[in-house]
């Protein structure tokens, strides 16, 4: 047994060296027209060797380490505690959400301009994640092209304002509805497909939309994008220093306060907050409605759900369309926050980030997804020096979550009814 272990451990250590040394230890550098090979610094080489030794030691003493780990006192003291009674949990959750909501309302008035801007981005991701949560978490349809609907929302606003001069408040429902229409149009043919095929088709769809936006230069400006997207107005009040449109009046003149550029940012933040909150409430409502129950039923067992009379296409299509609708919302807000959009903002990686948020938060769980959206957007900003490792850590986190905790950080708990004891 021991020699076999050592053999296996040597093999694993060797593989570790093989996959890390050529890529990490030898760096290609272009010198003029030719390439040059330089060795990495000694720290990297030492790190590679240490990694190989760690793998070797772990594999050699694997059995004893795993036994020892099994005997260790539990880190999480509450791990085998009974779940909270439902009423108590719901109350706690509501209290928690109210607290979050109140602090989110006070937030923009006490922090700096940059933080408010970042928080708006967080709220956009919250909207996206809540929408994708319907598709992936509740209905169990893996959508890898979700960013396409986000792009549709953003481009709808940009194009409408550029060609027709439409304002934010008209573009918002228009963008969301058009995104939903796209969801419907895509969903109709592809929802017959099995899970993993569906994932690939949606991925292809996302890429097609991006390539079209990139190449349809006469309409979308191609890779140069569209700029000059107007800011939202508050009942005809503009937030700029000067008034852009006839008949409008500026916010600071109306209230007789000095002009401040943070007004606009705070206003955008509040819009995003209200929209995110509306999305949260709407989806929470939907979850307890028959349509929400049928999403989950279909996710759990398609054959059983169909034999009980659920229409597969109808149920899946509703999830797909509603998910796309919220992505359209988020896209419109994003366009007006940035003031400029280009196809570069809508690459596959965005879809993967939103998916990672849903997975990390716990598929189906709204509170978990919101917390994950905050964490995933804020953490890279806090650790700026590690920001280039962000995607690396993302990828690793997705794999590790699937291996250790596929249900996510805050798994969804289904609402149920306790049977009363018969007297």
């Amino acid at each position: 047994m021991a020699t076999q272990n050592i053999k296996h451990a040597l093999f694993c250590a060797f593989i570790t060296l093989l996959i890390s040394f050529p890529i990490l230890g030898l760096n290609l550098e272009s010198a003029g027209t030719t390439l040059e090979l330089t060795g990495a610094d000694s720290a990297t080489i030492v790190a590679i060797l240490v990694a190989a030794i760690v793998v070797f030691l772990f594999q050699t003493f694997r059995d004893s380490i795993l036994t020892a780990a099994g005997k260790m006192p539990k880190l999480n003291r509450w791990s085998d505690r009974q779940p909270m009674p439902q009423e108590k949990r719901l109350k706690l959750e509501n209290l928690f959400m109210t607290l979050i909501m109140i602090s989110a309302l006070i937030w923009p008035f006490i922090v700096s301009r940059g933080s408010v801007d970042l928080s708006t981005l967080v709220l956009i991701y919250v909207m996206l994640a809540l929408g994708l949560n319907v598709v992936v978490g509740l209905a169990g349809l893996l959508d890898l092209g979700y960013v396409a609907f986000y792009a549709v929302g953003a481009y709808t606003f940009a194009l409408l304002s550029q060609y027709l001069g439409v304002s934010f408040w008209i573009a918002l429902p228009a963008g969301a509805l058009l995104a939903a229409l796209f969801g419907l149009a895509l969903g109709f043919p592809v929802l017959r497909l099995r899970g993993d095929y569906l994932a690939i088709v949606t991925l292809g769809f996302g890429e097609i939309i991006r390539i079209l936006l990139n190449n349809w230069t006469s309409l979308t400006g191609g890779p140069n994008g569209i700029g000059g997207i107007p800011d939202p107005t508050l009942f005809g009040m503009e937030f700029g220093r000067r008034i852009k449109e006839e008949g409008n009046i500026s916010f600071h003149d109306f209230f007789g306060i000095p002009y401040d550029s943070t007004h606009k940012i705070i206003f955008l933040y509040l819009i995003a907050l209200v929209l995110a909150f509306i999305s949260f409430l709407a989806i929470r409502r939907l979850m307890s409605m028959p349509v929400g129950r049928s999403w989950e039923a279909l996710r759990e067992d398609e054959i059983a759900a169909r034999s009980l009379g659920l229409s597969r296409t109808g149920v899946k299509l509703s999830a797909f369309t509603i998910g796309a609708f919220f992505a359209g919302f988020a896209g419109t807000v994003f366009a007006s926050k940035q003031g400029f959009i280009s196809p570069e903002s809508f690459v596959f990686l965005e879809s993967a980030i939103v998916l990672a948020i849903v997975v990390l938060g716990g598929m189906g769980s709204q509170v978990g997804v919101i917390l994950a959206a905050i964490a995933v957007t804020i953490l890279p900003e806090l650790a700026r020096e590690f920001s280039e490792y962000r995607m690396l850590i993302f990828g690793a986190a997705m794999v590790l979550m699937m291996v250790w905790r596929p249900q996510g950080l805050m798994p969804m708990r289904r609402v149920h009814i306790n049977l009363q004891k018969q007297e």
């Binding site: 030898l26 272009s30 027209t33 390439l35 090979l37 893996l142 991925l203 690396l392 699937m402």
Partner: protein, 307 residues
């Protein structure tokens, strides 16, 4: 005559790209055939193969070794070894622990692995694209000298021949060798072959290693053919190869070959007659259409849904 020559040129380009796609598609199709999951990180394994080959070529050039067959052979061997190790490690770390769980879980794990590997190479080698030296130069030309000439470069011939050799070797391996027989058995019924004494874990690992090795060969060939590589170039190629695998019928090895060639030709026809920018749209559109109308592909077996 001119038009014909132009058409033949597109056909040749398509066959070249298509046969390289077929090499990558083998990895998808074999893994899908055995454990029924899409190995999303396969495109990254191919990209790592191309990088390793480039590193080996640059390293040899630094030592002043320029004898072409030796350089190609060393690059090929290095790429195959490193990619195979990568394929093995990926299976061990990201797929084996989640095997047999709900369908979405291995898929998400695979997407995570793909993002991880992309950024791993990106951090280690930088995001700029690297020029890949064209080691095999020259070719044949047909047609009058003053008008359009159809050309077949030696590089294209190399790609074609290498693919043929790899495919023949793979077919022989699958049909004749003991491991190949075990592979077929496992893809028919994993549980039963386990009962009959086949070490299924080993066979699954072997499938990943074979797929990765073929992807590395494709990485070297296509890297040289395109003339430059970057950390993202595995992603689109992986999607294309997956499309090829689905087109030919996922799970079927001749299907992957056929699908690759059809995809390659339709792509080069699009860029030859329409516009190069829309070739990706055509291949994804093709994928969507195939999945809608014939989800089993051209040579695939229909799958019966069991309750």
């Amino acid at each position: 005559m001119q038009d014909l020559l132009y058409f033949v040129q597109q056909l040749i380009n398509g066959l070249t790209i298509g046969s390289a796609y077929a090499l990558i598609a083998i990895g998808y199709t074999m893994v899908y055939g055995i454990i029924g999951m899409i190995n999303f990180a396969h495109g990254e394994v191919y990209m790592i193969g191309a990088y390793t080959a480039l590193i080996a070529i640059t390293g040899l050039a630094a030592f002043g070794i320029a004898w072409l067959p030796l350089v190609l052979l060393v690059a090929l061997v290095c790429a195959v070894i490193v990619s195979s190790a990568m394929g093995w490690a990926v299976e061990r770390v990201a797929y084996r622990p989640v095997r047999g769980r709900h369908r979405l879980i291995p898929l998400i794990s695979a997407i995570g692995m793909s993002i991880f590997l992309q950024n791993y190479v990106h951090l280690a080698q930088g995001s700029r694209n690297m020029g890949f030296p064209l080691l095999i130069e020259g070719g044949f030309r047909f047609g009058a000298a003053d008008s359009f000439q159809t050309s077949i470069s030696y590089m294209q011939i190399t790609i074609f021949i290498t693919t043929l050799v790899c495919m023949t070797a793979l077919s022989l391996f699958i049909s004749r060798s003991r491991t190949g027989r075990a592979c077929r058995a496992v893809s028919q019924d994993l549980g039963m072959s386990n009962l009959l004494g086949i070490d299924t874990n080993k066979i699954i690992a072997a499938t990943f290693v074979i797929g990765a090795a073929l992807a590395a060969v494709a990485g070297l060939l296509l890297g040289m053919y395109y003339g430059s590589i970057d950390p993202l170039f595995g992603f689109i190629a992986g999607l294309k190869a997956f499309t090829a695998a689905v087109l030919g019928g996922i799970g079927s090895i001749p299907g992957a070959m056929l699908g690759g060639i059809i995809l390659g030709i339709s792509e080069s026809m699009t860029s030859g007659y329409l516009s190069g920018e829309y070739k990706d749209v055509v291949s994804f559109g093709l994928l969507i259409l195939i999945l809608l109308f014939k989800p089993t592909g051209l040579l695939g077996k229909p799958e019966v849904e069991k309750i």
